[in-house]
Each structure stands twice: as structure tokens, then as C-alpha cells.
Amino acid sequence: MSKPSVTGTGEARHRDAERFEWRQYVVYGGFVLVFLVFSAALFQSGFLTANNLLNIVRQTSTITVVAVAMTFVIASGEIDLSVGALAGLASVTTAMAIAQFGVLAGIAAGLLTGLVVGLANGILVTRAGIPSFLVTLGMMGITTGVAMWITGTAPVPIERESFNNVFGSGNLGPIPSLFLWTLLSLAVGHVALRKIPYGRKILATGGNPIAASFTGVDTARTKLLALAICGVVAALGGMLYAGRLHSGRFQWGQGDELSVIAAVILGGTSLSGGVGSVVGAVVGSLLIGLINNGLLLMGLEYSQQLIVRGAIIILAVALARRNASA
């Protein structure tokens, strides 16, 4: 005879009700924890100075901005691996157009690059029915290739202060412009996901595409729009690189797709779709930035940084998962 146990699967199902909250709390908890640990351990190295903290926000701004758009793509049940490469291409087309026709033309060229690539991704995924993983993987190669080809792999300098100020190194009063871009994307993204019909359609599409379409959601259009917007925002990310580094180059943003996806998942968005949080993605991105900065201040070598950062991300996601399904 055994005593009644309280650890059946029943308890697991029971906790299911709190799943949404749980996944998101982990990133906030992790953020606070890492912040406190670094504050104590790295006080001497100047971790807590306003300058350093602003620096973290500045350095993560491109990841943050793109992570906001990626949240929509992932929450709709798709993925976009081409964002990093696309940022590089957009930085190049922007720089080239600025040199030829001026700043406004440069901005237009960058955004247009993003729109074209994003639409191509979206059309191939929703009309041709090719999985987004493959489409955007292929697109990653294509965009990098194009960027290298049209520049002969050389950087294209940007000599317009106005552009560099707005998109990178400038300040508005005491506030760095990159900080403002982060805030802007957070506000727009959060409102779009939570407060307008499109956001709900994204979540419904990712949660159950069949039921969503039976309920009148045009799931193909919803996904197409998400991928197109993600392309445009990735291009904006590339322009932020261009502004900060005063040039366009195919390497800007390379490999960022992984940080972006990590930030989104850390933030509580479900990789299988249906659940998403923009606030979480932004905090996730800041958490990654925090870790990068702290490890640097600790004096770790780049190789060591990579290892520790990878381990922390896996741990955080594992915690979020365990709480989600335990």
C-alpha cells in the first residue's frame, strides 16, 4: 500500500494555467539576478556607472530593435534567419545611396532593401509553402553575397554627420539616439502585439493556424506581413550599425540572428508560436548585453566569454522551459 502521492502528471497539467506568466518571469528574474551579481562583483571595474550602463543599451540596440520584430515572426510560428545578413546588406545600400544621392535617399534605399528581402521571404514562405527556416537560410547567403559583390567586400564610408547622429553616435540632449531607437521599438512593438488586432492575429496564427483561419484570420497574409516587417526592421538595424560605425559593410550584423533569436526565446516567446512578449524580448536582449559587458569587464578572453555566455543562455532557457512544463 502506498501513500497518496502528489507528484502525478495531474499536478503538471494543473500548473499549465500559469504557463504564460512563468516563462516571462524567468527573464526578469534572470535580469535582476545577473545585474545584482555584476553590480557587486564588478563595482570596482565601473559596471554601475551611468556611462557603462548607457553603453550596454547602445551596444545592444540593434539586437533589441530586431528582436522586437522577430518576436512577431516567431510568435506567428515562423523564423527569420536572414536578419543579420540583411542588416549588413542594408548598411551597404544605405551607405552607397548616401554617397551618390544624399541622406534621405540613403534611408529610403536601406528600408527598401529590407522590404524587398522581407517580402521575398514572406512570399516564398506563404505562397510557395517553403518552410521559413529554409527560405531565410538561403536568403542569408544571398544577401551576404550581394553585399560583398556590390562593394567588392570593402567598407563604404558615410561622411554625413546628420545620418550618423540620428542612426548611431548622436545624442538628443543627454540621451543617446540609440537609446531612443530602443525605446521606440519597445513601445511600438508592445502596442502592436497587445493592443491592435494584428497582434492577436499573429498569436492566433502561431497558436493554431487551422482554427485561426477557420475564424477568418488570413494566416498567410499575417505571416507575410510579419516577415516583411522583420525585413524592414532588420534593415533599420543595419542602418543603426552604419550610423554607429560611420560606414556600411557586409559584415555588420553578421551572426546577429542567433543573439536576436536567443533574446526572443529568453523573453518568453514560444519557439513553436502562439505565445509572445515584446517586453520580454527587449529584456532578453538587454540581459545578453549585460552578460557580454560583465564578462568583458571581468577580463575574460573572447573565447571564455563565448563559453560562459552560451552556458548562461542555455541555463536561462532551460529554467524557463522547466517552469513551463514541470
Binding site: 500500500m1 502506498s2 497518496p4 502521492s5 502528489v6 507528484t7 502525478g8 502528471t9 495531474g10 499536478e11 497539467r13 494543473h14 499549465d16 494555467a17 504557463r19 502596442v191 493592443k195 491592435i196 488586432p197 492577436r200 492575429k201 498569436l203 492566433a204 497558436g207 493554431n208 487551422i210 482554427a211 485561426a212 483561419s213 477557420f214 475564424t215 477568418g216 484570420v217 488570413d218 502562439g274 505565445v275
Partner: protein, 502 residues
Amino acid sequence: MGALGSTVSLRGIGKSFNGVRVLEGIDLDLFPGEVHALVGGNGAGKTTLMKILEGVYAPDEGGVFFDGERVALGSASQARARGMAMIFQEFSLVPTLTVAQNIFLTREARGRFGLLDDRACERRAEALFRELGVDIDPRRPVGSLSAGEKQLTEVAKALSQNARALIMDEPTASLTKSETEALFTIVAQLKERGIAIVYISHRMEEIFAVSDRVTVLRDGRVVASGEAGSLSMEEMIELIVGRRMEHSFQWQPRSVERSGVPLLEISGAVAGERVKGVSLKVHRGEVIGLVGLMGSGRSELLQAIFGVRPLTAGAIRIGGVPVKIRRPSDAIRAGIALIPEDRRVQGLVMGHSLRDNFLLPLLDRFTRYGFIDDRLGRRKAQEAVRTMDIRTDSLAKIVRLLSGGNQQKVVIAKWLAAGPDILLMDEPTAGVDIGAKTEIIAVIRKLSRDEGKAILLVSSELPELLAVSDRVALLRGGRIEREVDRSAIESEAMLHRLIQGN
């Protein structure tokens, strides 16, 4: 402990979810060779109780006894080892695997070198289906089956496990009458083999037809338990809903004005494999019962009208005006709503809240300056919960955690709130309790009579279909073979013969 000679006994079972009491002090005994019917309203706790028996949930208090011996709680593998099998209300089949692979999942036949032998599984599955008297190809992927065929696959799967006790949670919710009869024959066979059976259903006739013993649950407590013959149908219904209720499945003759332009006119509609040239007119205020054998294309026709699988030929006119419906959003704009057959797959985003599901078709309407008006949404959802009597502890409850019937009510509620002119209903009362069924019938009558809506109804529950239809259209071979005025149908048996084609 437990009753003498019982296969399984439950004693003093209690269970709460998130502090909400779902079951309290439940005793239940299952005897070999006996069908024990478990009845009660939506959310009464039937499925939860069975999941405790099956070891999916551990109860907060009480004990489970197999052959008089106390067993560990909340262990599904132990329950299975003791010979418990359950046909879940929500299907537990893998859609990408074949029927045979599903039936023998983890118990596959092994061939040479210990490799899986699909052929052997298929042969055994075929034999099982022959016993059941149904015709399903074991090689088909489960995802391509209709809801009814999935249910039969579940039955076959449970049978293949040589269970000593079998729980059937609303097994006939999506079966046709003849399939239901085939199932009853199987149940009788199982009884003879000494298997203890729990039979859960909201269909009173079935309860009286198959059960030896009945237990009535209300709000998580046993309100009556005894021999099947000891209760009349009226008494049982009163025990279930907790108040006297007249049984309003009576048809109320009336005439529909059919001279004007029909509200919905379909001509020569071709779509998919099963709709091969359907022509049909539905007038304002008219309810048409669409009948046919399983696989006759009833659901497909409704889905074609709704734009899920757009017409490849033919035309749809609404109020005499031709409309192009390429996707559901076109249909919704044209004032059409579809309550689909499979609430889990087609009706609901199971991982989202009741409120979000309810609001999904209404999103574009519940906005102010482009932003969702959450207050209005919440108020409407609250209203719907009240009028449909949806049992939930909050609007934020994830619909997967609602009871099956309450999920169905959410689907109905969201479409009624959309205020369509033309309502396509595919098995709208599947899994819905007797009180709510009466309510839905009243709603259908009100929509057609007082509000002039056109309704196309598919239901395998013939009494219900006969209660509200003005005309019955018979679908066979992808076409409307006959249309019969309701007044010309004298009995359920006559309609049944019409469907069978003799």
C-alpha cells in the same frame, strides 16, 4: 477495500484545480461485465474523475482500488498495467502516423531482426475494424480521417489492449446512428467478456440503451447512483441540471416564406473530392437539416461555402447577389459563420484564453481608433459566459482546461456574437449537456424565427435535427439527392431510412 467483487473502486475522491473544487467525496464501483453510465452536466467532473481512475491525475484525497487492492495514485502506467483503458474525450492520436501505427503505438508487431512490422499491424488493425463492422483503411494517416473515423480508431486502439476495464468518454459524440449501433454491439461483446465499462454520454437514449447502472454527478458530487431502471428519463434530466426542465425536442410546425429571393443560393458547387455539384436554396428564417452518411460530404459542403476549400466550380449567391468566397474572411464579411465539426483543431486556439478565443472573430469590430477595446471585449465575453452558461473560474482560463462541452460552448458563443445572417452549424451540440442542448435548440429557433437568419445544420443527433429543421436535404454522391419537407417526415426511423437509402 472497495466493493466485493468489483474490478475497480473509487472511495472518497476529492480534487481541486487552482483552489477550485472540482470533485468531492466520490465513491464509484465498477463490476465485471457491467456498463456503468456516468452522467452530468458540462464541467460536472466526469472526465476529471476518469482521469483519476486512469492515473492521469492524482486526487487530493481518497483512494483507488483494483480488485480490492489499494494502488498508487496518479500513475498512468500502473493503471494500464492493471488493465485500465480509456478512450479520451480529446483524441490522443498522432495525426501524422497511420491508423495501424496509432493503434499499436509502442506495442508494434516485430518482424525479423526486431524491426517494426507495419504489415502485421495493418492486418491486425483490419481484423479489429472487421469486428467493429466499419470500413477504415489502416494505412491512412490519422490526420486525414474524419472526426467519426478517429473515434472508431480510438475504440479499436482500446480494444487491441485487451482491457479489463474500459472507459468511454463520449464515444459517440461524432458517430452516425449506424456507427453508434455498431459500437453498442461491440459494447455488448465486451460485457460478455467480463470487461467493466464506464460509459459517459450526454445522449439520454444511449444511457438507457446500454447501461446497467447509473451515477449522476452534479458540481463534483454524486447526486444519485443506482440500477439503470430505477430512474426515469425525466428524473435523470432533473438530477443532471438541478431543476425541472421540459424536454423541448418537439417539432413546432410552421411555414417559411419561400417565394422571394433565397438568402443563400448555391448552384452547381464543386469543391474538393466530395462536393460534386451541389445546388441548394436557403430562405430567410429557414433551417435546413443536411443529412447523409458519414463521408457524404456534409462538412465539406459547409466548409466550401465558408471558403475553407473554395469552390472550383459553381456559384454562391447571397440575397441574389453573386459573391466570391475565396477564404473564410470573405465569408465572414458576407455575413456567414461556420461552427466547425472539430472544436479542438478547427474551432479553438487551445493554448489561448477563453476571452482571446471568443474575441478572435470580432477583433476588427471591437476596436477604437485602431486599438482593441479590451473593456468592451471583456464585457461581451462576460455576457456570453453568462448566456451560454459556460463553466469557468475566469475569462483568462486557457480553453484547454475547460471541460469538453464548455469548449464547444465557447465556439458557439464566439460565432453567435459575430451576428451572422447565415449560420452553418456542423454538429453544434457535440459533447454539450442536455441543458445546454435545449438552450442551443432554443437559440436556433430564435435566430431563424425572430431574426430571419438562414441556417444549415449538420447533426448526427436526429431528434435534434428533426426538432428544428424546416426541410431536410439528403446529400449523396456529392449531390443533393432529395429535399423533403419536415412535415413529410413522420419519425426518426423514417429519416434514418431515408439517410440509409431504403
